[in-house]
């Protein structure tokens, strides 16, 4: 997905058109709509007595129709190309949250916070390691103070507590 604005003009026009924002969004909606209709294995019922599958059919059917419409419009009247995604930043940010989720139940709040900050710092330009570590420890203590001591949220804090 790297149709940056500069390149879009130079690569062949058909590919540029297929990768435009509207077409990609339309295809996404169409896929979600059709997927929903396909997975809707519930009883439909009638308008007067709706089964659990009635509303999903309505919603996902309409979504698929809108998706087709958005795609068609994007193909007929090409919109701007899709912006380049910041892939490295995306991965580090999401990975930092994942690390937190994995660490919180096993190692507790303090360790999870420190891990999150360290991984997330790879996405930006926080600079020297000492700055990252002090930020991590500072935020960990602040979180314990606010959430656990201040607000009385009950969660595992240290690796050795339960």
């Amino acid at each position: 997905m790297d149709a940056g604005s500069a390149q879009a003009d130079t690569i062949d026009p058909i590919r540029a058109r297929l990768l435009s924002r509207d077409v990609l969004a339309g295809i996404l909606f169409l896929a979600l709509g059709l997927g929903g209709v396909y997975l809707n294995e519930y009883r439909l019922g009638s308008a007067a007595r709706m089964g659990p599958g009635y509303m999903p059919m309505l919603v996902f059917g309409s979504l698929a129709a809108m998706g087709a419409l958005v795609t068609a419009k994007g193909l007929v009247r090409p919109g701007p190309p899709t912006e380049r995604m910041a892939i490295a930043a995306t991965i580090w940010i999401l990975a930092s949250l994942l690390a937190f989720a994995l660490a919180i139940e096993r190692l507790g709040l303090v360790a999870a916070t420190i891990v999150l900050v360290c991984v997330a710092s790879l996405a930006g330009n926080v600079g020297r390691p000492i700055r990252v570590v002090s930020l991590a420890i500072g935020l960990a203590l602040f979180s314990v103070a606010i959430f656990v001591w201040g607000l009385g949220v009950s969660m595992k804090v240290w690796p050795w507590t339960f």
Partner: protein, 499 residues
């Protein structure tokens, strides 16, 4: 309860020591996030939702509301001093506010924004107190058919009056409605789209979705464009207005207040639309429009009053009809439901302390904001020097803890991660996340009302056009949809958000 009696009663609730405290915390937090670019009211309120579980309903709502209108004050400070709007609703303030600051009139611009906002807040409070009971009376006669039509209108208006592609926004509504279907069907008890995942049996959590869409994806987006240098701040002059300033600013503030109060009630209207519309109006009315963009004080007074008025009056549809019209109001619905309160016309009668307490607290909060913002502006300016590379890890930590503390379940964090990615992808495809959130919140209610309306009419869809109020609501929806096809209206809509 008549209006004056209601306000007096509400003032009593708002002035209880605990509520004053929560109002102050809300106003303070609102100013803080308004000043900090890249942290918006939606993510902040979502973050604080879990904390409000333990509070009484009235205190919780008073605090969350304070965050929302407080952010309108804070957002103008950065717009004026460093040309960086803290919120979308203060984008236009950067034009003339920053120009004034460069001419050494920054103090006058800040004072205009704060005083205009305070005046607008006071008027908007009265506006809610008058319009609220009126709309409630109408809403009490609604049956399921009217409710369904009203929600259709709300959703359509919210995409037509907002900016961006209408087709994609409508598709986003359906994505939201689809997400709302996940979980146990209330009617049959059957599990829908849960894929044997036990955590999904109660549906997808609202807070994890919103924090992913508005918190995490914003962080990624900001990292892309972040300016790592610290901001250069224009020096602040004396924080007061000259007689001439006042003469020029006062009528603009008055017009902005009226415009904002009305636009705020419309779905999709809200603070951003109000500020853009007010700027356009002032420019049109000015004897010399060329002054705009070069430090015209009306260009600060009008929009800043309008956005504050609109932020407050956007509570009207929520408090009277139970209809959220923007993402913040959708969060308020979440907060109320957590407290076991179904927002709607019965709230005013069953929870009078909540309704009137909230209305009165807005006025109290506006007084606090005046004090928080004007004399203390120096402190907020210093906060601008906090670089984003220290800020975003903190945002992520608080999001993760907030989401986890909901159910002490790591699953909720996985949902946040997923929607953080989806939100960022959608930003790249130029799809607004707000319609998705509105659809997600309204989905279960719409299904219920559609089911009931059609059950009563024995499956005849004519019920939506046989009942006069429902017919009216549907007709307005149809007109709005048709209008968007007309080129003339499309152009006006484009201009509105151009400036």
């Amino acid at each position: 309860m008549d209006i004056l009696g209601g306000l007096w009663f509400g003032l009593g609730v708002a002035l209880e020591p605990a509520n004053i405290g929560f109002c102050f915390i809300g106003a303070l937090l609102g100013t803080l996030i308004g000043v900090l670019p890249g942290v918006g009211p939606v993510a902040t309120i979502a973050l604080l939702l879990p904390i409000t579980f333990g509070l009484p309903a009235t205190s919780a709502i008073i605090m969350l509301a304070g965050i929302f209108y407080g952010a309108q004050y804070g957002g103008s400070t950065t717009a004026i001093l460093i040309k960086l709007p803290g919120e979308t609703s203060s984008v236009v303030t950067t034009l003339d506010g920053y120009a004034m600051a460069q001419q050494g009139r920054g103090g006058a611009a800040l004072a205009t924004a704060a005083l205009g906002s305070f005046f607008a807040g006071t008027v908007a409070t009265l506006f809610i107190a008058i319009a609220g009971p009126l709309l409630t009376t109408i809403a009490l006669s609604f049956s399921s058919a009217e409710y369904f039509s009203l929600m259709v209108l709300g959703l359509i208006a919210s995409v037509v009056l907002a900016h961006g592609s209408v087709l994609k926004a409508i598709a986003m509504i359906f994505v939201g409605l689809g997400l709302g279907l996940v979980g146990t069907d209330v009617n049959s008890g059957e599990l829908r789209f849960a894929f044997d995942i036990q955590e999904l049996s109660d549906g997808i959590g609202f807070v994890p979705v919103v924090l992913g869409l508005f918190g995490v994806s914003e962080v990624i987006r900001n990292l892309e464009t972040a300016d790592w240098r610290t901001a250069r701040i224009a020096p602040i002059s004396r924080l007061w207005l000259t007689r001439d300033d006042f003469r020029q600013a006062a009528p603009a503030a008055l017009r902005g207040t009226v415009l904002g109060s009305f636009l705020g009630v419309l779905p999709g209207g809200g603070a951003a639309l109000a500020s853009f519309a007010s700027y356009g109006l002032e420019k049109k009315l000015a004897r010399d429009p060329s002054r705009f963009g070069k430090g015209a004080i009306e260009g600060v007074a009008g929009p800043e009053s309008a956005n504050n008025a609109a932020a407050q009056t956007s509570f009207i549809p929520l408090l009277t009809l139970g209809l959220p019209t923007n993402a913040v109001m959708a969060l308020m619905v979440g907060a109320l439901i957590i407290q076991g309160i179904q927002p709607g016309p019965l709230m005013m009668e069953r929870q009078p302390d909540l309704f009137w307490g909230l209305v009165a607290s807005m006025w109290v909060g506006n007084i606090m904001l005046l004090v928080i913002n004007l004399p203390l502006v120096g402190i907020w300016v210093r906060l601008l020097k906090v670089p984003y590379d220290l800020l975003y890890p903190a945002i992520l930590v608080f999001s993760a803890i907030g989401v986890y503390s909901l159910n002490n379940s790591a699953f909720d964090i996985y949902v946040t991660i997923l929607f953080g990615f989806v939100g960022y992808l959608l930003l790249k495809l130029e799809c607004e996340p707000v319609p998705l959130v509105l659809g997600f919140v309204l989905g279960p209610l719409m299904e219920e009302h559609l089911r009931r309306a059609l059950l009563l009419s024995r499956g005849d869809a004519k019920v939506f056009i046989d009942r006069p109020i429902s017919l009216g609501l549907m007709a307005v929806s149809a007109v709005l949809l048709l209008a968007i096809v007309l080129p003339a209206f499309r152009r006006r809509r484009g201009e509105m958000f151009q400036e």
